[in-house]
């Protein structure tokens, strides 16, 4: 496999996340720290779920294929549950720390919960995407032929697009989740959990057809629209932004002249 595959898949999977990082997070030290803490929380959730899966696998100790696959599905579902639990735990931590920051540091403005929702979602997403894809990426630099045993030959590209979907979905879920926690709308948390389970379950479908990818992208667009409206956007503000007529836009002054 060539360097073109490596770079192509790397940028497909991580390009948007990198852009988001560079333009929104890299400038503020506090946001970087919250991003890394978010990544850490995801990591701990993965650790816990791996531990549970490992225990289950060792205890049943059954080597036949269907049982292994069942265990894997069980592992995936448990992992999704634990990830959302840790997202809630991170929300609680941020809530406590923002009060602490406000009391100690009255001069400087603490980041708003909406911003922290975005940063935490991105942290979760980046860590999740990296962990899913980095080993595959490093393999793509080495020698080999994809699909020689009848597997789909677009393995790398499929994985890259799926990773991208997961990263962006985690970001949107973070925004929606925190908003639900803030406004005490607990059904939102349940909906996020169900969507996460749905997306993971979609990956159980055979990757030969691109169906799981298409469905995942549809869910991505819908969740993105939901997150947009939840974080205060509206059709009007979108129109203003696209026509460069909002006051923050650099082109605002030029256009109105």
């Amino acid at each position: 496999m060539t360097a073109a595959v490596f770079f192509g898949c790397a940028f497909v999977a991580f390009g948007p996340a990198l852009a988001l990082y560079i333009f929104t997070i890299a400038t503020e030290p506090l946001r970087i720290i919250f991003l890394i803490i978010g990544a850490f929380f995801w990591l701990v959730s993965l650790l816990l779920s791996s531990f549970i899966w490992f225990m289950a696998a060792t205890l049943t100790d059954n080597k036949d294929e269907p049982r292994q696959r069942d265990l894997l599905i069980f592992g995936v579902l448990i992992s999704v549950l634990i990830q959302e639990m840790f997202r809630f735990a991170y929300y609680k931590l941020l809530k406590k720390s923002s009060e602490g920051l406000k009391s100690i540091n009255p001069g400087e403005k603490a980041p708003s919960m909406r911003l922290l929702a975005y940063v935490s979602g991105l942290g979760f997403g980046i860590m999740s995407g990296v962990f899913s894809f980095v080993n595959t990426l490093s393999d793509s630099l080495g020698p080999g032929t994809v699909g020689i045993h009848g597997d789909p030959p677009q393995f790398f590209l499929n994985s890259a697009f799926m990773t991208l979907v997961i990263i962006l979905l985690h970001t949107f879920w973070g925004i929606v989740f925190f908003d639900g926690c803030e406004k005490k709308k607990w059904y939102t948390l349940l909906v996020v959990l169900l969507i996460h389970l749905l997306v993971s379950a979609l990956t159980f479908i055979s990757p030969y057809s691109g169906l799981n990818l298409v469905l995942a992208y549809i869910i991505l667009v819908l969740t993105g629209i939901w997150a947009f409206f939840v974080s205060g956007g509206s059709c009007r503000s979108l129109k203003l932004c696209l026509l460069c007529q909002d006051k923050d836009s650099l082109l605002f002054n030029q256009r109105s002249r």
Binding site: E28, P29, L30, I32, I33, I36, I37, A39, F40, L43, L46, L47, S49, S50, F51, W53, F54, R69, L72, G75, V76, S79, V80, Q83, L101, I104, N105, G107, E108, M127, S128, V130, F131, S132, V134, N135, T136, S138, F155, N158, S159, M162, T163, I166, V199, S200, T203, F204, P207
Partner: protein, 462 residues
């Protein structure tokens, strides 16, 4: 008047390199790791205020230890923060206000060092080959039984830690009896060895890996320039960024030596033991490092050049404040202070003093800017990189383990800095990060890796 010990130009607590390992003798040296937040005094432009602050700053002084050529030392590692002389409320607010920025100022060099080490480990095969061991770890790990191997690694660790303890005590004794020239000579010798010999070996291996031919004259020119500029930057004056870059490079080189020559299990046990030692040496009242600092405080001397990475500069643009008693008199409080501070305890707490003397006019007040920096000992860099490098070298080609250790170390560093902001005293920088790193290494390697591999092979996503 404490003598400057040849430290002309090293005012401002410039870091000195003291790390050395001689390939021929298989020696390994260690140096201190510590984390210190340096604050410069407020621009009150009064001598009295400055004096008080300098005396107060003695409590937060911290010194690095130099390592001798044939010995290994565990330098004191601790984190120092704050200036006790300031009013507490202001200090707390300032510390927290600068907190996030300082954390990032340390994240970047630590990340860069780790990236260099991991990139080298993954590409240059030399550093993962086993070619013997150091004399400090004489017991081999090629034994038949697991129990024997574990026993050997524990014995190796005991030997290494005891060498470190002995060297630290030796250093304290040397310092107590004022053998400054001796210590200074060590520093120069160690940095010479590191900057020239190890760079030459590293360059040789990299060229071999990529099959690039380089003739000896070019090689000589390159290594000579690199080494000479490094010596000047580290021991004398140089641009801050260049100095930081050199410190990162030598930390990476040292970490690579450790990764190559420490056998597997011994490396992990040593990492654990070093963090415990760090904790003990810095926090216990009779710890050697604490005694070192107290001796320096008693003598009201600046600590000799240490191995510290400093992250920020203090720029004082000179302040002209009109003295009501003497019209037309200009006071540039920081220029004379620059001379004084080198000999006082206040010196190392300013990461670097760069004061272009700007004359002001009577009645004009120039802005004085200052930026507090955080200092982290190079030993911390080295051991963090050893942990991540070992994870990369032995993780069976798995990147997840390396990344998990990386995130764990950064989080540990973050927590340590938070504790620094809260407790405002010397704190060790190794324990939390290394503990997290070790936990995440073993758990990711044994639990997460099979899970993620199975998921990836079935193309399932969580």
């Amino acid at each position: 008047m404490p003598d400057r010990r040849g430290e002309a130009g090293t005012c401002g607590g410039r870091v000195m390199l003291t790390f050395m390992a001689s390939d021929s003798d298989e020696e390994v040296c260690d140096e201190r790791t510590s984390l210190m937040s340096a604050e410069s005094p407020m621009p009150r432009s009064c001598q009295e205020g400055r004096q008080g602050l300098e005396n107060g700053e003695g409590a937060t002084q911290w010194r690095g230890q130099e390592s001798e050529e044939d010995h290994e030392e565990d330098p004191d590692r601790h984190v120092c923060s704050g200036v006790p002389g300031r009013p507490p409320g202001l200090e707390e607010e300032l510390t927290l206000k600068y907190g996030a920025k300082h954390v990032i100022m340390l994240f970047v060099p630590v990340t860069l060092c780790m990236i260099v080490v991991v990139a080298t480990i993954k590409s240059v095969r030399f550093y993962t080959e086993k070619n013997g061991q150091l004399i400090y770890t004489p017991f081999t790990e090629d034994t038949s039984s697991v129990g024997q191997r574990f026993l050997n690694s524990v014995l190796n660790t005991l030997i290494m830690i005891s060498v470190i303890v002995i060297m630290t005590i030796f250093l304290v004794v040397l310092y107590k009896y004022r053998c400054y020239k001796f210590i200074h000579g060590w520093l120069i010798m160690s940095s010479l060895m590191l900057l020239f010999l190890f760079t030459y070996i590293y360059l040789g291996e990299v060229l071999k890996t990529y099959n690039v031919a380089m003739d000896y004259p070019t090689l000589f020119l390159t290594v000579w320039n690199f080494g000479a500029v490094g010596m000047v930057c580290i021991h004398w004056k140089g641009p801050l960024v260049l100095q930081q870059a050199y410190l990162i490079m030598i930390s990476a080189l040292m970490a690579l030596v450790f990764i190559k020559y420490l056998p597997e299990w011994s490396a992990w046990v040593i990492l654990g033991a070093i963090s415990v030692y760090d904790l003990v040496a810095v926090l216990c009242p009779k710890g050697p490092l604490r005694m070192l600092v107290e001796t320096a405080q008693e003598r009201n001397e600046p600590i000799f050049p240490a191995l510290i990475y400093s992250s920020a500069m203090v720029w004082t643009v000179g302040m002209a404040k009109l003295d009501p008693s003497s019209q037309g008199a200009l006071q540039l409080p920081y220029d004379p202070e620059m001379e004084d501070s080198c000999d006082s305890l206040g010196e190392p707490s300013y990461p670097e003093v760069f004061a272009p003397p700007l004359p002001g006019y009577p009645g004009e007040e120039l802005e004085e800017e200052e930026e507090r920096g955080v200092k982290l000992g190079l030993g911390d860099f080295i051991f963090y990189s050893v942990l991540v490098g070992k994870a990369a070298a032995t993780g069976s080609g798995d990147w997840n383990t390396t990344l998990a250790c990386f995130v764990a170390i950064l989080i540990g560093l973050c927590l340590t800095l938070l504790l620094l902001a809260v407790f405002k005293k010397a704190l060790p920088a190794l324990p939390i990060s290394i503990t997290f790193g070790l936990i995440f290494y073993f758990s990711t390697d044994n639990l997460v890796r099979p899970f993620m591999d199975t998921l990836a092979s079935h193309q399932l996503y969580i």
